[in-house]
Amino acid sequence: MTAASLPPPPAILIANDLLDGDVVFRKSDGWTRDPRAAFIAYTSDETQALALVAREAEARREVVEASIVDVDIRDGAPAPRHFRERFKTLGPSVRPDLGKQAQFPDYARAAGA
């Protein structure tokens, strides 16, 4: 991910856990399943720092498919602006009993379409 291809802040780092495949969010130290706990980069310097974290985490085999995603802040929680990443963050729209939306219903209410 080059600096030029990074989305504008605010942004978060999301990925899939290598072993589980589960969607994970970068917090200030380590990874979390809880999107509300994601570290939000508010400056392009912070976004670039996240990109570095992404590369290192992939190299350490913690995660795969790491990507920086631009978000809106809704009720204090990061909601991806693009619908694709929003579904990735929430879970299948046709199965509200599965994915993060089931685990974190407050977040789903705030970040849902």
Binding site: N16, L18, L19, D20, G21, D22, V23, E58, R61, V64, E65, R81, H82, F83, R84, F87, K88, G91, P92, S93, V94, R95, L98, G99
Partner: protein, 557 residues
């Protein structure tokens, strides 16, 4: 059913052991993701939006009750209690973990199943008519040929790195139920027009995706014993001359299109010539060996008509309505082929819970000699049901939410997983299918509309076969929103046709109403006894554009 011999068994077990080692090396760090990705894909393990996804091959759509029970066990133990049947007659699990994948493969191997060649630029799972071996309109059972192709194409060293993925279908009936003309290569078992001898017609160059093409006949008639030599000739021409410079132009359809049918046929002929005699005795022998596994079942001697069935039909309208859509003529007197809809109104097309799998396996044992099939339309089939048992079967299916009377009707919608699951998708498919099904939920209305295939894909790759839907729906992204293009007049049968785009894309909310306008136009203009696709072909898609334009407001404005 085909049973693994020692070689098959060893081959599949060795593959499980290899993959277990590969997964461990990925976890240990010996393999990078770039190195590991092709290895996991060769074993059907994808990384999708929310999780890994495991695609399990169901060779030519044939399953035993024992295998279905094993799939239910995997769904419960390693997934989220359900699976998804695909348009390639396979089954996908949406939530497996990488660390569990080798154990899942081991369980599959226990019931003679695998995930080999369900991904990658190789010859994929061979599909076939879901009524193979039992249909009354069959010339010859295509399963032995499909199994022969499976064995021939599994780890075939010459065809392990093709320019692009390669899909083969086989059909042995007069009606094409395997979408032959949408395949890279299709084998059609036919009778020679003059001699009456049974042999093979070979088509090539069909495919959907971003450049849809209808397959063309490249070999008019290959006699028995000449099939694999002809297939190899086709594959060699493609392997050597198919484009590798551009992923989007790498399928065989592009080669056939670019050099033209006569030249493609000439190159096949030259390849055959170079190889010497095309007859292979070992093909005949192996096909005969395989065919013994598919020998005609020991059916009871029954009268063609069943009084209990006729009485139940007369007494129960719901049952009669179900039977009108679900049944197909069987070879054996007193038996029927039953298609079981996996399209409950409002449900995701092709999904089945583990409880339903177990219940269905029990019903297959009780009513269908322990065997079932998967159709490319994402439904299941019980191939050997006594007509006397149909009413009891229908009631039992109903207890498990499996008696929806909509096979072949407007709510029997094909839909890919779309953006609800798939990392490649550009829009969702399943909610569109659900919304359309709910709009047309009334059974009487569905039956009045009659046969109508709606097929939905969530991206240009067209896993949902939208190009060949009577009504096709393609989900795309437009200006940061999901947008749906509607095509009309596609046809997945032997009269295959690519649908015509009706106009600009619609929002998800507008799409069901647009479909309804098209259906209303058909109802207003159909001649007596005319099906939807017949009316479309008679009037032309253009005639429907006025009805369609009435709802494409947001784009037109």
């Amino acid at each position: 059913m085909y049973r693994y011999d020692e070689f098959d068994e060893r081959f599949v077990r060795e593959r499980v052991a290899q993959f277990r080692d590969q997964v461990q090396r990925r976890i240990d760090g010996a393999l990078t993701e770039e190195e590991f990705r092709p290895l996991r894909l060769q074993n059907g393990l994808y990384l999708q939006l929310h999780a890994y996804m495991l695609r399990i091959a169901v060779p030519y759509g044939v399953l035993s009750s024992r295998q279905l029970r094993a799939l239910a066990t995997i769904a419960d133990r390693y997934d989220r209690g359900y699976g998804h049947f695909t348009t390639r007659q396979n089954l996908q699990f949406n939530w497996p973990k990488l660390r569990d994948a080798p154990d899942i493969l081991e369980l599959l191997a226990d019931v003679q199943m695998h995930t080999i060649q369900t991904s990658g630029n190789c010859i994929r799972n061979t599909t076939a008519d879901q009524f193979a071996g039992v249909a009354a309109d069959e010339i010859e059972d295509p399963r032995p040929v499909a199994e022969l192709i499976r064995q021939w194409s599994s780890l075939h060293p010459e065809f392990a790195f093709l320019p692009r993925k390669f899909k083969i279908a086989v059909n042995g009936a007069t009606e094409d139920r395997a979408v032959l003309k949408a395949h890279d290569v299709a084998v059609r078992i036919i009778r020679h027009a003059e001699t009456g001898e049974t042999g093979y017609q070979i088509l090539a160059g069909g495919g959907l995706g971003r450049t849809p093409m209808i397959g063309k006949i490249v070999v008019d008639f290959a006699p028995k014993g000449h099939l694999l030599s002809h297939l190899e000739a086709v594959m060699r021409v493609y392997n050597a001359q198919g484009r590798r410079d551009n992923k989007y132009k790498a399928r065989i359809k592009i080669l056939v299109h670019e050099i033209g049918l006569p030249e493609f046929k000439a190159r096949i002929a030259a390849e055959l010539e170079a190889e010497g005699p095309s007859f292979r005795q070992e093909e005949v022998d192996e096909l005969a060996r395989i065919a013994t596994f598919f020998a005609r079942k020991e059916y009871e001697t029954l009268a063609p008509h069943s009084r209990p069935y006729e009485r139940a039909r007369a007494a129960n309208r719901d049952f009669a309505q179900w039977a009108d859509t679900a049944l197909f003529a069987h070879k054996a007197d007193g038996y029927a082929i039953v298609t079981v809809s996996l399209k409950p109104i409002g449900g995701p097309p092709g999904d089945m819970t583990s409880d339903q799998m177990r219940a269905f396996a029990d019903l297959a044992d009780r009513y269908s000699l322990g065997e079932l099939r998967v159709s490319h339309a994402q439904n299941l089939v019980l191939p050997h049901v006594k007509k006397d048992d149909l009413f009891a079967l229908w009631r039992a299916l109903g207890e498990h939410g499996l008696s929806t009377a909509n096979v072949g009707l407007i709510t029997d919608i094909i839909a890919c997983p779309g953006l609800d699951y798939c990392a490649l998708a550009t829009a969702r498919s399943i909610p569109i299918a659900q919304a359309i099904a709910q709009r047309f939920a009334d059974p009487a209305r569905q039956h009045d509309i009659g046969p109508l295939n709606i097929k939905i894909s969530g991206c240009i790759n067209a896993c949902g076969h939208h190009h060949v839907g009577h009504i096709g729906i393609l989900g795309l992204e437009k200006s940061g929103r999901e947008s749906y293009q509607i095509t009309l007049g596609g046809d997945a049968s032997w009269n295959a046709a690519i649908g015509e785009l009706l106009g600009p894309g619609l929002t998800a909310d507008e799409t069901p109403a647009a479909i309804e306008r098209l259906v209303d136009f058909y109802l207003a203009h159909r001649l007596s006894g005319e099906t939807f696709i017949e009316t479309v072909k008679r009037l032309g898609a253009g005639a429907f554009k006025g009805a369609f334009a009435g709802v494409s407001r947001h784009e037109a404005a």
